[in-house]
C-alpha cells in the first residue's frame, strides 16, 4: 500500500470519527414536546398540619417527666399527608395524596408531577388538603391560563403566599 493511499485512508478514518462525534453531539434533535404542546408542572413542598390536636398535660404527668422536658402541651409529632387535586378544563387531572417525609412522618410532604398539555387557553382548578382533621380542601384556587407552545405552568403550594400559586 503506497504512502498516499495509507494517508488517504487515515484521513477518511479520522473524518468518519469526527463526523460521528460531531453528529451525535447534537443530532438528532430530541423532541421533548410536540410543537403544539405546553407543560404543566405540579411541584410543592409543604409541611402538613399535625394529625391530631394538642392537649394539656396534667400536673401529675408533668411531675413524672424529666424537668427539662416539662412542656404543657402534648402535640402529636406526625404530620398530615398533603392531598393535591388538579382539574384542567373541568376534567380531573390529579387527585393524589403525598405522605409526610421521615420515619416518623414528621417532615414536609413533597410532590412533583409533569404533564404535557395542549397549548392554548385552559382553566385550572387546584386544591390542597394538608390537614387530616379537616374535610374537603384547605387551599383552593382557580385560574385561566393562556399557554404558548413550550410554555410552563407551575402549580405550587406556598402557605405564606396565600396557598396555591399558579404561574
Amino acid at each position: 500500500m503506497s504512502k498516499a493511499v495509507r494517508y488517504g485512508l487515515q484521513a477518511v478514518a479520522y473524518a468518519a470519527f469526527a463526523v460521528f462525534i460531531g453528529y451525535f453531539s447534537t443530532f438528532p434533535r430530541y423532541q421533548h414536546l410536540q410543537p403544539d404542546e405546553a407543560l404543566l408542572r405540579l411541584s410543592f413542598k409543604h409541611p402538613g398540619k399535625p394529625v391530631g390536636d394538642c392537649r394539656e398535660r396534667t400536673p401529675e404527668e408533668l411531675a413524672k417527666m424529666p424537668p427539662q422536658l416539662r412542656t404543657k402541651l402534648d402535640c402529636p409529632r406526625e404530620r398530615s399527608p398533603v392531598r393535591a387535586v388538579v382539574e384542567l378544563d373541568g376534567k380531573p387531572l390529579y387527585d393524589e395524596t403525598f405522605p409526610a417525609a421521615g420515619l416518623k412522618r414528621d417532615g414536609a410532604a413533597a410532590g412533583y408531577r409533569r404533564l404535557a398539555i395542549p397549548a392554548g387557553q385552559h382553566t385550572l382548578k387546584v386544591g390542597f388538603n394538608d390537614d387530616v382533621r379537616a374535610k374537603g380542601l384547605t387551599y383552593e384556587h382557580a385560574a385561566t391560563v393562556n399557554l404558548e407552545p413550550g410554555q410552563v405552568v407551575l402549580i405550587d403550594l406556598v402557605a405564606d403566599r396565600g396557598g396555591v400559586v399558579i404561574r
Partner: protein, 548 residues
C-alpha cells in the same frame, strides 16, 4: 568459534498482512469466539492504513487517557473565563465562544468533542476487551476497576452541560433532577432547584463547578487504579495517532463549533433539544419509559459488567512457581512480568540484602515470561535435575530441554519456537524440523537458542507474535530485545546470528510463515552444519514424543 563475522539477526519486521476473515486463527479466544474474530478482523484491517503501532483500535485505552487530558486542559482554559453565577454563566460562555472564537471557542468545542470521544473510545475499549474475553482470571481487577470510570464519566459529562445555563442546560438540569429525584433519599423536592428563578443561586453554580471538577478527579483516580495491575501501562497513544486524533477534533471544532442554545428560561421548556446523545441518553429513555426503568437498566448493566468475571469463568493454567534454592534475587522476572505478578521480598535464607521473587498468584497470567527472564533457566546447567529460579509447572525448563534434546537426537536440525497465540508453527514439522509453541514466546530463554545450535541444530527460527498483537502485552517485545542483546538475559554474542531468525507471525499468517520457514531451511541447508563452538552433554537419545 568459526562462524565468521557476526551478522545481525534477520529481523523481518512483519510478514505481509493478510485478510483475516475466513482464516482460522491458531488458538485461544480468537479462534473460538465470533466476536473476537470480528474485532480482530477489524483491527487487522486498520493495520493497513495506520500500521500496527498507531492502530487506534489497538490503543483505545491510551486514546481514552489522551482525550481525558485534552478535556482537562481545555477545561482549565474555560474555567479561567467562566463566571460561576446564575446571571453570568451564560454570558461568560457566550463571550468565550463569540469574542474569542479562535481560542475560547475552539477550546469549548474541543472540551465538548474530546469528552464525547473519551466516552466513545472507552466504550470501544470495553467492548474490545470483552470480545477477547479479557475480563476473567487474573484480569478481573482491571475489568472491575474500569466499571466505575463509566459512572464518573457520565456524571462529570452531564453536570458539564448544566454550566452553560442555556435551554439545553435547563432541560438537562430538570431532567436529571427528575431522574435522581426518583431515588429514595432524594425525593421530588430536588427538582425544585430548577423550576423557579428564585430557586437558582450563585452558590448552586459554585456547587456545580465543584462537582464538575471534583468528579473528574475521582475519574482520574479510578483510571489510575484501573492500570495498577499491569506493568508499563500504555497511557499515551502513538504520536501519529495522538496528533491525528487531536487534529481531527480541532478541525471538527472549527467546522462545527459547539454553541449555546437560547438562555435558560424557567417559564419555558425546550420543545426540540439539541442533545448530546453520548452523555444524555438516559433522559430521553426516562421520558420514553420511566425514571425507575432507566435506573434499573443502568444499574443492571453496571452490575452485569462488574459481575462478568465471575459469571464467565475460564479454566486457569498453573501459575509460576519460585524455587528459593535457585532464585538469586536478580529481579529480572520482576522487571519483565507484564502484570506486576512478581514482587521481590526478603530471601528466606536470611542473608542480608538477598531478595527472592514471590509470585502473587491472583495476578499471574501463566505466560511464562518470568521463566524466560530467569538467568537460571539455562539448559547448559549441569546436574541431574534442571531446576530454575522461577518456572512454569506445566512446562518447566527441564522438560523444554528434554524435548529439545529428543528432537535433536532424532535428527531434526531446524528448531522452530512459536507462540500459542501466534501462527501455528506445528504445521512446519517434518523429518528435519521440530516445532513447538509456548504460552508466550518470551518463555523461551535465549540460552535455548544457543544450546540448540551447540547441540546439533543448523538453525533456530523464532516465530513471535507481532509486537502490538501480543496476548501478554510485552512478551513479544521482550523476546526480541533479549535475542537482540538489548535486554537481559541476552543471547550470547558468540551465537552465529545467521543461524537465528526471528519473524513476526500472527495466527492468520500461516502461509507466510510456511514461506519464511522454507526460505530459512534452504538457507540453513546452504550454510551446512554449525562449526562446533563447544560441547554439550545431551541427556536424551532419539525417541518418540518429539512433537508433543
Amino acid at each position: 568459534m568459526g562462524s565468521g563475522p557476526r551478522a545481525p539477526f534477520r529481523m523481518e519486521a512483519s510478514i505481509p498482512l493478510r485478510p483475516a476473515l475466513g482464516v482460522p486463527a491458531a488458538g485461544g479466544t480468537v479462534a473460538r469466539n465470533p466476536a473476537a474474530r470480528a474485532v480482530r478482523a477489524l483491527e487487522r484491517a486498520f493495520d493497513h492504513p495506520f500500521g500496527a503501532a498507531a492502530n487506534p483500535l489497538r490503543q483505545l485505552g491510551a486514546l481514552a487517557f489522551w482525550f481525558f487530558w485534552i478535556v482537562a486542559v481545555s477545561g482549565v482554559y474555560l474555567y479561567i473565563f467562566f463566571d460561576t453565577s446564575v446571571s453570568g454563566a451564560y454570558a461568560s460562555v457566550e463571550s468565550l465562544t463569540r469574542d474569542q472564537w479562535y481560542a475560547g471557542g475552539v477550546m469549548r468545542s474541543l472540551h465538548r468533542y474530546a469528552s464525547d470521544a473519551f466516552l466513545v473510545v472507552t466504550v470501544l475499549h470495553l467492548l474490545r476487551e470483552a470480545a477477547y474475553g479479557r475480563f476473567t482470571g487474573f484480569r478481573w481487577f482491571s475489568w472491575v476497576s474500569g466499571v466505575p470510570t463509566l459512572v464518573f464519566m457520565l456524571v462529570s459529562g452531564i453536570v458539564g452541560y448544566w454550566l452553560v445555563w442555556d435551554a439545553v442546560a435547563q432541560f438537562v438540569g430538570i431532567g436529571v433532577t427528575e431522574w435522581v429525584g426518583w431515588l429514595p433519599g432524594f425525593g421530588p423536592e430536588l427538582v425544585r432547584n430548577f423550576i423557579a428563578e428564585e430557586a437558582m443561586t450563585d452558590r448552586f453554580f459554585s456547587l456545580l463547578v465543584f462537582i464538575h471538577i471534583g468528579v473528574p478527579l475521582f475519574l482520574l483516580a479510578a483510571m489510575w487504579i484501573h492500570v495498577q495491575r499491569i506493568s508499563r501501562p500504555q497511557m499515551q497513544p502513538a504520536g501519529a495517532l495522538a496528533w491525528g486524533s487531536l487534529a481531527a477534533l480541532v478541525v471538527l471544532s472549527l467546522a462545527r463549533p459547539a454553541l449555546s442554545d437560547a438562555p435558560a428560561d424557567l417559564a419555558r421548556v425546550p420543545v426540540a433539544v439539541a442533545l448530546d446523545w453520548f452523555y444524555l441518553f438516559p433522559l430521553p429513555a426516562m421520558y420514553a419509559a420511566s425514571a425507575g426503568a432507566v435506573w434499573a437498566a443502568l444499574g443492571a448493566a453496571m452490575l452485569l459488567l462488574a459481575a462478568l468475571p465471575w459469571l464467565v469463568r475460564a479454566p486457569r493454567a498453573p501459575v509460576a512457581q519460585v524455587s528459593p534454592a535457585n532464585c538469586n534475587g536478580c529481579s529480572r522476572c520482576f522487571a519483565d512480568c507484564p502484570y506486576a505478578a512478581v514482587v521481590m521480598r526478603e530471601h528466606p535464607d536470611g542473608k542480608p540484602g538477598k531478595k527472592i521473587a514471590v509470585v502473587l498468584e491472583d495476578l499471574c497470567a501463566s505466560c511464562g515470561i518470568c521463566a524466560g527472564a530467569c538467568p537460571s533457566s539455562t539448559p547448559f546447567r549441569s546436574g541431574e535435575a534442571l531446576v530454575t529460579g522461577i518456572d512454569m509447572p506445566q512446562l518447566p525448563v527441564e522438560a523444554m530441554r528434554a524435548r529439545l534434546e529428543r528432537a535433536l537426537a532424532d535428527g531434526r536440525t531446524t528448531i522452530v519456537f512459536g507462540c500459542e497465540s501466534g501462527a501455528a508453527v506445528e504445521a512446519l514439522r517434518g523429518p528435519d524440523v521440530a516445532a513447538w509453541r509456548f504460552p508466550c514466546i518470551a518463555q523461551v530463554p535465549p540460552s535455548f537458542v544457543d544450546y540448540a545450535l551447540r547441540a546439533g541444530a543448523r538453525g533456530v527460527l523464532i516465530a513471535r507474535c507481532p509486537e502490538h498483537d501480543c496476548e501478554f502485552r510485552l512478551g513479544s517485545r521482550w523476546a526480541a530485545e533479549r535475542l537482540a542483546g538489548t535486554r537481559e538475559p541476552h543471547l550470547r554474542p558468540s551465537v552465529p546470528r545467521e543461524r537465528v531468525r526471528i519473524i513476526e507471525a500472527a495466527p492468520e499468517d500461516a502461509e507466510a510463515l510456511a514461506r519464511a520457514a522454507a526460505d530459512f531451511r534452504a538457507e540453513m541447508a546452504r550454510l551446512g552444519p554449525v562449526v562446533p563452538r563447544g560441547r554439550v552433554k545431551r541427556r536424551a537419545s532419539a525417541s518418540e514424543g518429539v512433537d508433543e
